[in-house]
């Protein structure tokens, strides 16, 4: 689908934006990780409480905070819903496309909002294993695509804005 056409939000996005689930800091979180930055205009923070039960790492609780557009808030909220009660390996494999689908299909221009949500989740999972000093064999050594995209967004914000400035012709004041 072309990006020339501004696709509207699905009712689902609007619904979750209205009534987000699992909002706010989690007192006894095992890990807290975020992706994005205020300068980008979008930043998702995930709080996970993880318990190891029968050698499986289960997400007992997940909450979020989000600075960003309505899609960003909805993506963050739905990802907490999707991972609650699930084990980390399952959570690791959630894709941005699944999130978009859960939201009834995001407009192309908003794909990055769900990439950000996946990025924050992956970062939290890595942080957890780092914290407990383990590395399960299913966890890739190298950063995967979505993690790279998030890093890129964070790192590239300066470069990106610089090139956009040229496109938009914003000159820095003397």
């Amino acid at each position: 689908m072309s990006t020339r056409i501004p696709l509207p939000y699905s009712p689902k996005v609007l619904e979750i934006f209205r009534n987000p689930k699992n909002l706010g800091p989690l007192e006894n979180a095992t890990v807290v990780e975020s992706a994005g930055s205020p300068a980008c205009g979008d930043m998702i923070k995930l709080y996970l409480r993880i318990e190891r039960i029968d050698n499986i790492d289960v997400i007992k609780e997940a909450t979020f905070e989000s600075y960003g557009c309505a899609a960003n808030i909805a993506a963050a909220s739905i990802v907490t819903e999707m991972i609650k009660g699930k084990d980390l390996r399952y959570a690791w494999n959630i894709t941005w496309k699944q999130i978009s689908d859960e939201l009834g299909g995001l407009p192309p221009i908003k794909y990055h909002c769900s990439i950000l949500a996946v990025g924050a989740l992956k970062r939290a999972i890595r942080a957890y294993y780092k914290k407990i000093g383990e590395h399960p064999e299913w966890l890739p050594k190298e950063l995967v695509q979505e993690e790279k995209l998030v890093l890129e967004e964070e790192e590239m914000i300066e470069r990106y804005h610089k090139s956009m400035k040229e496109v938009m012709g914003v000159v820095d004041r003397k």
Binding site: P8, E15, A39, E65, N72, M164, V170
Partner: protein
């Protein structure tokens, strides 16, 4: 499912709020019933030919087109209706001015000066045609309130400069530029410089006289003052030659080819009458309500920044506020759910995920620009509308701040 059905779903889910207040007048205004009434005869009574046609129906069209031109000419002090050119939008009027001038002078080369906060329909044609035709475009910086420093301006204008376009009122932050002063500087360096001003957001909101201002071309747009869309105007001082970037008319005819949008012109004429009758009352009204809205928000919401100047050198209808720690697109959606309609300069509302170039040009950081909201008040807003907005906005910001991952430190 088709796109339109998806939107219908969204609209159904959104619902129609019991109270609605529309502040998104920068993007488009509504058209009051009197204006629609003024258009109807030109749709309905019978067919309407274009003005050069030699029959009764064509002459009736011509009559209203001339009446509108006469009204516009007298409202800006133009010498003759020959100086009034209709296009279909302010965007097109700006293009006719900029591209039209560069195309007509394509053997000249030289420098084009615009401000860094011009509307994109000035900046983009300047750069596009300059690039093709071999001119050079310079963007003059503005200060933190959007004003051009005359000393800095002086430094940019030189004998190579052929065309300058500086808007009268900035569409986002309401800065009222001192055009006369800039014209004087420009013409003292080189009297042949052609000076265009984009008055799309000034016309109907302040007194304008093209001769007192000394400008050579000026842009006006109908839908900015509750006229119908589909009419833009370029004032072109006698003696200025343009070659329209849109072709299809013999050169002896009007500059913008195609049939005039006669009903829309009739509606615009009515909208001008409405704006200029009780002009002072209208201006005071929009200003008072704007000030009330500003105070109401400032008193009830922490951590806000006013974008643009405060006081007399701000357009009477403009309020632009950055709400820190929250993102503007989310604010527009949240407010929409409560029937308040605004727009934002946030990256998330733009197709390139880049915040408003105007806000960046006045030195706002990205995180400040992201939370910006633009309100425009009009003579049609009531006290009650403002009270409602002041009731809703703090709650909306509170809720989004409670969600936000950024907190004041």
């Amino acid at each position: 499912m088709s796109f339109s059905k998806k939107i219908r779903e969204l609209l159904d889910h959104h619902g129609k709020p019991s109270k609605e207040v529309y502040f998104d007048l920068e993007n488009s205004g509504w058209v009051p019933p009197e204006v629609v009434e003024a258009m109807k005869p030109y749709y309905n009574v019978y067919g309407y030919g274009h003005p050069s046609i030699t029959h009764r129906i064509g002459w009736e069209a011509l009559e209203v087109v001339y009446e509108a031109k006469e009204l516009i000419a007298s409202s800006i002090g133009a010498k003759s209706i020959d100086e009034i050119v209709f296009t279909h939008s302010g965007t097109e009027a700006n293009n006719l001015a900029i591209a039209g001038y560069l195309l007509a002078n394509r053997n000249k080369r030289g420098k084009v000066i615009v401000s860094s906060i011009e509307h994109l329909s000035v900046i983009f044609p300047a750069e596009f045609y300059a690039n093709i035709l071999g001119f050079k475009v310079i963007r003059v910086p503005v200060n933190g309130e959007g004003f051009i420093d005359p000393e800095i301006f002086k430094y940019y204008v030189d004998r190579d400069t052929v065309l300058i376009s500086i808007q009268m009122v900035n569409h986002e932050i309401g800065t009222v530029q001192n055009i006369r002063e800039l014209v004087d500087i420009a013409k003292s360096v080189n009297p042949n410089i052609v000076f265009h001003t984009d008055a799309a957001d000034a016309y109907g909101k302040m007194a304008i006289d093209v001769n007192k201002l000394g400008v050579d071309m000026m842009t006006i747009s109908s839908h900015k003052i509750h006229g119908p869309r589909g009419v833009g105007v370029l004032y072109v001082r006698e003696g200025i030659n343009l070659e329209s970037p849109i072709r299809g008319q013999l050169s002896v005819e009007k500059l913008w080819p195609g049939v005039e949008n006669v009903p829309a012109i009739a509606g615009f004429k009515k909208a001008i009458e409405l704006a200029f009758n009780d002009f002072d009352y209208n201006i005071n009204h929009m200003k008072r309500l704007r000030d009330k809205l500003m105070k109401g928000i400032m008193d009830n919401v922490d951590d806000v920044l006013i974008n643009g100047p405060i006081g007399d050198r701000r357009a009477p209808d403009n309020l632009n506020i950055s709400f820190l720690y929250v993102e503007g697109e989310a604010i527009t959606v949240e407010l929409s759910l409560h029937g308040i309609y605004v727009s934002s300069g946030s990256a998330c509302t733009s197709r390139v995920l880049e915040p408003s170039h105007v806000l960046l040009a006045i030195g706002r950081k990205h995180e400040e620009a992201h939370g910006s909201i633009l309100f425009k008040t009009s003579r049609y807003h009531s006290e009650d509308d403002i009270d409602y907005a002041i009731e809703i906005i703090p709650k909306a910001i509170d809720r989004l701040r409670s969600i936000s991952s950024i907190k004041p430190n």
